[in-house]
Every structure is written in structure tokens, then in C-alpha cells.
């Protein structure tokens, strides 16, 4: 399936999340980092990193908004 398009202004809510402590070598310098499945407002889902996402800061159903994209894909932030 082709991915759901995300851009400036895209918002959604967290339907599940984790914090990756043991990462692959490519992500070792980023660990620990938050990852969430986001239900996009308007339809579709994406998996994305959450800026400053920790086990404490992220919650189920939390509202998030697109922040930026880097080599590894989109990054969202908590609203």
C-alpha cells in the first residue's frame, strides 16, 4: 500500500506508541526515541517519530501535528 501523504498542517491522534531503547545501528545516536501510529485527521494512518516523545509525554489519543521530514521519514510533535 502506498503511504498516507503528510505535509505542513497535517494533524492526527496517537492510537499506539512505544519508545525504542534498543535501536538498529542507523538509529543508535537517536535512541531512545518515541514512535507512534497516528490516525490522520481526514483519513489514513502513518507510523512516525514523535519529537521529544517519551513514555511519560506520549499518551493514547493525544493530538499531534506534522513537524518536519528527514531522511528517515516524517516527524510529528505533540500539540
Amino acid at each position: 500500500m502506498m503511504g498516507t501523504a503528510v505535509r505542513e498542517g497535517t494533524t492526527g491522534k496517537i492510537i499506539s506508541f512505544t519508545v525504542i531503547n534498543v535501536a538498529t545501528p542507523e538509529f543508535a545516536d537517536q535512541a531512545p526515541y518515541g514512535l507512534a501510529i497516528i490516525q490522520i485527521n481526514g483519513g489514513g494512518r502513518v507510523l512516525a517519530r514523535i519529537q521529544d516523545g517519551t513514555a511519560e509525554s506520549m499518551t493514547m489519543d493525544a493530538a499531534v501535528t506534522f513537524d518536519h521530514t528527514d531522511d528517515h521519514g516524517p516527524v510529528f510533535r505533540l500539540m
Binding site: 500500500m1 492510537i15 512505544t18 525504542i20 538498529t24 514512535l35 501510529i37 494512518r45 512516525a48 521519514g73
Partner: protein
Amino acid sequence: MREMVIVGAAETKFGRSEQSYRELAVDAGRKAMEDAGVDASKIESLVLGSFSPGTFVHQEHVAPLVASELGLDHVPSTRTENACASGATAIMSGLMQIGAGMHDVVLVVGVEKMTSTPIGEATSILAEAADWESEAKAGLTFPGVYALMARAYMHRYGKNRDILDAVAIKAHGNGVGNPYAQFQKAITVEDIRESMMIADPLTLYDCSPISDGAAAVVLASKDVAGDFKRSGIPFLGFGQASDALALHEREEITSLPAAQRAGERAYKMAGIRPDDISFAEVHDCFTIAEIIATEDLGFFEPGTGGDAAVSGRTGRDGPIPINPSGGLKAKGHPVGASGVGQVVESVFQLRGEAEGRQVDGVEYALTHNVGGSGATCVVTILGKGE
């Protein structure tokens, strides 16, 4: 379709092994042939289940390699790859070769050699079984995928990690009785509390280990089953199903639709119901995976599989023992071998030869082998035979 049976079964101990990839495969294959009382000349085809030998041990084209090492006589040999379900997929392929009338006797070997690879690299290799573009590239690891399922499950059904603890403690307790298991040591809640967080909420004790190992079965048409040393263990039903690789693209993230479909197909072919199953070897690559498996296979209602583990219903002496071998969690998870190993354990149990871990009154066994986070599932149902 012709009736099909297992006439030989064997496996190596799972864990960190001194043996090489080919030595492990040959060891299991030869012992399965010995168990069946046949020599290499009787084997008409080899199917080899293996996930990623090219990256783990820098060797592809492994099916003819193993066929040749085993001294098989120029037989057709084929490798199957369906991530962590590569092993059961190899069995499916072997069954279809016999069912179609191509061959009467097929050797199936599942093997993986993982411990010679550094842990970070192994994590990367395993992540290749996820959807690269939308999951692995974004930083998701396999423990991470199952952590997403675990959190969604606990939130949806109002559970805490007691349900995960119960599965881990049971798995390690069962591993104590299994000489083939990587971990033969019981654990406590305190061990889990003090262990490292891998992908929140999953700790080290929620994850199956990196392992080496091989398992093998000799499959035969029932027409020729009288030619072997052991009476055959019949395949009563089997089913396979697929789904999206990426967890977030599926309708459900607290169940595995492919496992439900594979299970329905196997039950239908066998003509039996979940209540009839005496015990099951399910794909507990992570503790949450076992809970979801017991619901997908119809043993428990959605949302109650964790409670069933807490109350001991899935213990070796419970009404539906799950993973009496210790499962992938304690027995070990040499990826390509795991699905074949579940069937080998079931043969031992159905013959009444699972010393130290025998389940009482076994009539029907079920195996459940999952690839990725549920994009492939293979379910088989075995009977006791004559």
C-alpha cells in the same frame, strides 16, 4: 488430497551453538531420517525453511547446499522464505508436493544461525521482515512493532503488564523441562522488573532471544507410511494466510487477521474445533504475541487471553496448555527453524515422548507460526495416529 503423515522428527538444541549453519541443518536432517529409519536414497525432495542466511552467515542458495551435505541423490531442493514463518511455510510446501502426487517422501529442514552476528546488526536484519519503507526505515524495530500492539491491547481491554509477566514466567517455567530449550531456568516477577527496557512497554523478558538451531521432519504419503520405523503422525489440517506487512495498514492492531484466517482454514480441513485441541505451540516471539495468538485461534475471547494466562489456564496442567516446550520465548527462536521446531515438539508430545514436559491425554496438537508482525501465518493441526 492424499493423506499425509510425519514419519521422522528431530531438532538440535536451540541457543548459542558452536555448530555452523550447515552443520546444524545436517544434524537435524540426519537425525530426522534416523528417526524415520530411512537413508538418504529414500528422500525424494528437500524443502529448506530459512529467513536470511545471506545476511546472517553470508550464504544464499542454501537448499542444494544442505541437500548435498546430507548426501541426497540430486533431489529437487528449494528454500522457502516467509520471515519467521519460513519453517512452517517449508512444511506447507512439502505437504503440497506430496499432496499433488509429485513425491511420496519429502525432507523438510528449518534452520537459522544468528548468534555470530552482532546484536545491532541482527536487529537490523530482523527489521527487514517489517515494511521497510513505512516501518523499518522510520526506526521501528521488531520489539517496537509488538510494543505498539501490546500498548494498544492493554489500553483497549484495560489491562496492565501483569498479563505479560504471566506469559514470560510460564514460558521460562516450561523451558526448565525441555532439554532442547535455550533457557532452562525459571524467572520471577522481580527478574522482569529489574530487566532492561527494550521497546516500552516490552522488557528483555518479553522478547524471544537470538538463537541458533535447526529442526527437521520427514513427511510421507500415508500410502507408503508402512515403510518406516515409526508409525506416522497425521496432518489433519493446515492453513496459511497473508496480510499487509505494516502493522498500521491493517484493520486491527490488537489481533492478527492472518492468524485468524489460517486457523479457520486448518480447523475446517481437520473438521475439529478449538475446544478439541489438547495443546498448542504458538508463535510467542514476544509475550503479547502469545496472548493475541490464543484469542486468534479461538481458545479465548478477544481481550481475555491475558487473564487466561494469569489464572493458569494455559499452564502445562491447565485446560489448554500453550507452549509446553517453553515456546520461542524460552526454547529459543532460530527464525527459520522455529516453525519446524513447533511441529517436532508436537510429534514428541503426540508420541508421548516429551520427557520432562509431557502433556497428559494428548489427542490433537496445533502449531501457529507467524512471519513478521502477522503478514504471514501458518497453522497446522496434528492427530495422534494409529
